[in-house]
């Protein structure tokens, strides 16, 4: 009797362990950047290509950095949520356009001159925002994805919340759903803005 009790107990424990394990999202890799200063960059601004922006310019503000691209399908899914969010105008939302042209996969990059890539990237990004609405205070262009690597981007869309001191306080991988916005992002923003 006692022995069967133990076997049953072990079985239940194993099922519980597997249930928890299978319920986790394997894409949700904790970012080591949370709690660290946002990596520096200087990137051209989409609306004014001759100007640049860096995280330093945002010092003293709580802000969001959203990584997107026009070829990214999940970005389309989260976009209405961002547009809605931006209407409230609580905190600046910066867009980091990630590998607009070379990330698409439908271009032969070995044959495309850098100048052409740049023109095409700006054109495509502008067109996409015109079509789907522009929730971004500013969008900067990371053509080769070099800044994306510094931010540990591995799947677009990704969103970072950065505090007044320029420290990353949260990273969300994957599309922002209304639930994520209301339950995780908004409370954190309220706390950081206190």
């Amino acid at each position: 009797m006692n022995r069967y009790f133990w076997i049953l107990g072990a079985f239940v424990a194993l099922v519980a362990l597997l249930a928890v394990g299978l319920g986790l999202n394997p894409r949700d890799v904790p970012s080591p950047l949370v709690g660290k200063p946002a990596p520096a960059f200087t990137l051209p601004v989409l609306a004014a290509p001759e100007t640049t922006l860096s995280p330093k310019d945002m010092q003293g503000k709580v802000w969001l950095l959203n990584v997107w691209a026009s070829w990214c399908v999940s970005c389309r899914q989260e976009h209405p949520v961002l547009v809605e969010f931006s209407k409230k105008g609580k905190v600046p939302l910066l867009g980091l356009n990630y590998k607009e042209v070379r990330g698409d996969g439908s271009f032969d990059m070995s044959k495309m001159p850098a100048e052409e890539e740049k023109t095409l990237a700006f054109q495509r990004a502008n067109q996409w925002l015109a079509q789907h609405g522009n929730p971004y205070t500013t969008t900067v262009m990371d053509l080769d994805g070099r800044v994306g690597i510094d931010y540990g981007v591995y799947g677009v869309p990704e969103t970072y919340i950065i505090d007044k001191a320029g420290v990353i306080r949260m990273k969300h991988t994957g599309p922002i759903t209304p639930d994520v916005l209301s339950q995780k992002i908004m409370p954190l923003l309220a706390e950081l803005n206190k």
């Binding site: 890799v29 080591p32 590998k99 690597i149 510094d150 931010y151 540990g152 591995y154």
Partner: protein
């Protein structure tokens, strides 16, 4: 270790007599081909690092965009004279311990490293306990008394006669 993808490519090429897939790999390797030592280091390093897009492949195996970018990044760092620990560090700072196929021993990974050993010790403990009890049980089994032996013999005989 030969990458599975490469192997598949060769199998395919062998089967269909097509070499269409091969120039891609050749193009990939071109930038450092002139420097076999650096190329070997790149291979060693990228075999240690996980591609976060297709999580069960190393960035040496994977052809995901990010893996290509990271290989390019590693090439750049090798050319810039960075050491292997510096390059590994660069990756860990950005993507966390998860990029390492050989996770470091620390508090949170103790179970990972110690788990198999702990399980083996538990197994040995259970086995020894079982063996000891079994030996006790056998020792405790009294041989039949003279009386019992007689009865057993009688019963067996009875059975034979039937």
């Amino acid at each position: 270790m030969i990458s599975r993808r490469l192997l598949l490519t060769f199998v395919f090429a062998a089967f269909f007599g097509s070499t269409a897939a091969l120039p891609v790999a050749a193009e990939e390797a071109a930038p450092l081909a002139a420097d076999p030592v650096a190329e070997k280091r790149l291979l060693e390093l990228s075999n240690e690092l996980r591609c976060l897009v297709c999580q069960n492949q190393t960035i040496a195996d994977s052809n995901a965009e990010l893996a290509v970018d990271l290989r390019r990044e590693i090439r750049g760092m090798i050319q810039a004279g960075k050491t292997n620990p510096e390059i590994i560090d660069f990756m860990v700072v950005r993507y966390g311990d998860f990029v390492l196929y050989r996770p470091p021993v620390k508090g949170i990974t103790l179970l990972l490293w110690g788990g198999p050993l702990a399980l083996m010790l538990v197994g040995i403990f259970i086995l020894l306990r079982y063996l000891r009890r079994r030996a006790q049980r056998i020792a405790a089994d009294q041989p039949l008394s003279a009386d019992e032996a007689q009865r057993a013999e009688a019963l067996l005989k009875e059975l034979d006669q039937k």
